[in-house]
């Protein structure tokens, strides 16, 4: 009896590989089958038996995550939610970008710093609104978000299409203009639009998303939007370009210009704030049990921005040339946008209703 209890406990542990909803329904039944098939005196699951259960559990997890061949309400809902929260999130990022004039915490503050145009002592702020293209780009984002919040599916889609068209035209006509728009806004918006297209194509979109959205989602997205700004600031501050450009000192009396090196600005405070915001966003997502598929979509929306940061700012502060947006080769574009595109395709497949019932299993040799 003791041996049997030990075996049963180990089988239950093994069955924990299955997703919880499957276990709730099948665990006792599977346990009975496993126990019935156990040899006399067997104390632990056999190797082949263990491998078989793990393979089966992983297969069921994969099938249920993607739910190919049957409508997956959680994916559909996640996409519908995304169609509302993503445009609003992009506007939040833009507002924070404009509203917060970032003063880099330089250790050696020169009195001349504030008098030099483009000194990078202030990044963003209201000055951004005077930059060509930026106000129109943000205007489009506001319109898209407003239609999404109103639950207007078609109008949101039209506004999104117009916005994308404007970006493309501006890119073609005035190539450097796009660099006036902060990277964060460009990349977060691009990720939001790629995944948003999938949301519009395969889910009810804003009308349903508006009904599903609640304060849980904003509790995650607000700190996340602030985190984007903190990361942007850290990226600027970590880039040598941001602070060497401020070091020209001109003496009118002697007609000499002095070039000096300054120590990098102290960003430890921003790192602390960034960490707190990241923990707040992740903690809220876990504690409030936000739809995991929505979190996956949001992560994919962030991905291009994270890759851009990794390649140009935080992780290679001495290199200016690693900016993927400034030199958009096909490889760079693939690196930036392939993962969200793939997830968009996967999400569309998972959320699509079945066209015909499947009749055969898709697993390998089974005996």
């Amino acid at each position: 009896m003791i041996e049997s209890a030990g075996l049963e406990r180990r089988y239950r542990r093994l069955l924990a590989w299955y997703p919880r909803p499957f276990r709730r329904e099948q665990e006792d039944e599977m346990l009975a089958v496993l126990m019935a098939g156990a040899r006399k005196g067997q104390r632990r699951p056999g190797l082949l038996e263990t491998a078989d259960v793990i393979r089966s559990a992983l297969g069921i997890r994969l099938l249920r995550a993607l739910s190919f061949g049957r409508e997956n309400r959680r994916w559909t809902d996640a996409l519908a939610l995304f169609s509302v929260v993503a445009p609003v999130f992009v506007v939040l990022v833009a507002i924070l970008e404009v509203a917060l004039p970032y003063h880099l915490p330089l250790r050696d503050r020169s009195p001349f710093l504030f008098h030099l145009p483009g000194s990078f002592t202030q990044v963003g702020g209201l000055s951004l609104l005077s930059a060509p293209f930026f106000d129109i780009a943000v205007g489009f984002q506001v319109i898209v978000a407003a239609f999404a919040l109103l639950g207007r599916r078609r109008m949101t889609l039209i506004a999104m299409a117009a916005s994308v068209l404007y970006w493309i035209l501006y890119w073609v006509v005035f190539r450097y203009g796009i660099s006036r728009v902060p990277d964060a806004l460009q990349l977060v918006a691009a990720g939001a639009y790629i995944l948003g297209a999938a949301a519009f194509l395969t889910s009810p979109g804003p009308p349903r998303g508006r009904r599903l959205v609640n304060w849980h989602h904003w509790a995650v997205l607000l700190p996340a939007a602030a985190l984007v700004q903190i990361l942007t600031l850290i990226s600027y501050a970590s880039s040598r370009f941001a602070w060497t450009a401020t070091l020209i000192r001109y003496d009118a009396a002697t007609r000499t210009a002095t070039w000096g090196m300054m120590r990098p600005p102290d960003i430890s405070g921003y790192l602390v704030i960034g960490t707190v915001l990241a923990i707040a966003a992740a903690g809220s997502a876990l504690a409030l049990k936000v739809n995991r598929y929505l979190l996956l979509l949001l992560a994919a929306m962030f991905y291009p921005y994270a890759i851009q940061l990794a390649s140009s700012g935080i992780f290679s502060p001495d290199r200016i040339g690693a900016n993927l947006l400034r030199m958009p080769t096909p490889a760079h574009l693939a690196l930036l946008f392939a993962p969200p595109l793939l997830l968009a395709c996967g999400g569309m497949l998972a959320a699509a209703p079945p066209r015909r019932p499947r009749t055969v299993m898709s697993s390998g040799p089974e005996a």
Partner: protein, 110 residues
């Protein structure tokens, strides 16, 4: 639409249920019997198959019993499952007949 061939384990599970409802371990022993001990299903494989067959509405839960404090859930074929099994059996039979007729000169085409 081209119908993919049914995997042997699926075919054997449906065959085991063709005579009447069975519980999980019953299916395993019956499949071993039908296949002359050539196919021995393991629990993980069986429940992956049952999950898919239920999703495709080829089988349904017939009833549940508690035997010696253990849950037994019995499955049975749906009409759709019966039709599919019959179609697959006919297809296999036709293929086997064609192969045998060609192997046998008396009944072959040569």
């Amino acid at each position: 639409m081209t119908q993919r061939a049914m995997q042997e384990a699926t075919f054997l599970i449906l065959t085991a249920l063709a005579a009447g409802s069975q519980h999980g371990y019953g299916i395993i022993t019956d499949v071993a019997l039908i296949s002359d001990d050539r196919v021995r299903l393991r629990a993980g494989t069986l429940y992956t198959a049952l999950d898919r067959l239920r999703t495709d509405e080829l089988i349904v839960v017939d009833r549940e019993e508690i035997v010696e404090n253990r849950l037994r859930r019995y499955y049975r074929l749906t009409p759709k499952g019966s039709d599919l099994l019959a179609a697959e059996a006919a297809r296999l039979q036709a293929n086997a007949a064609a192969a045998l007729s060609r192997l046998d000169p008396a009944g072959g085409t040569t």
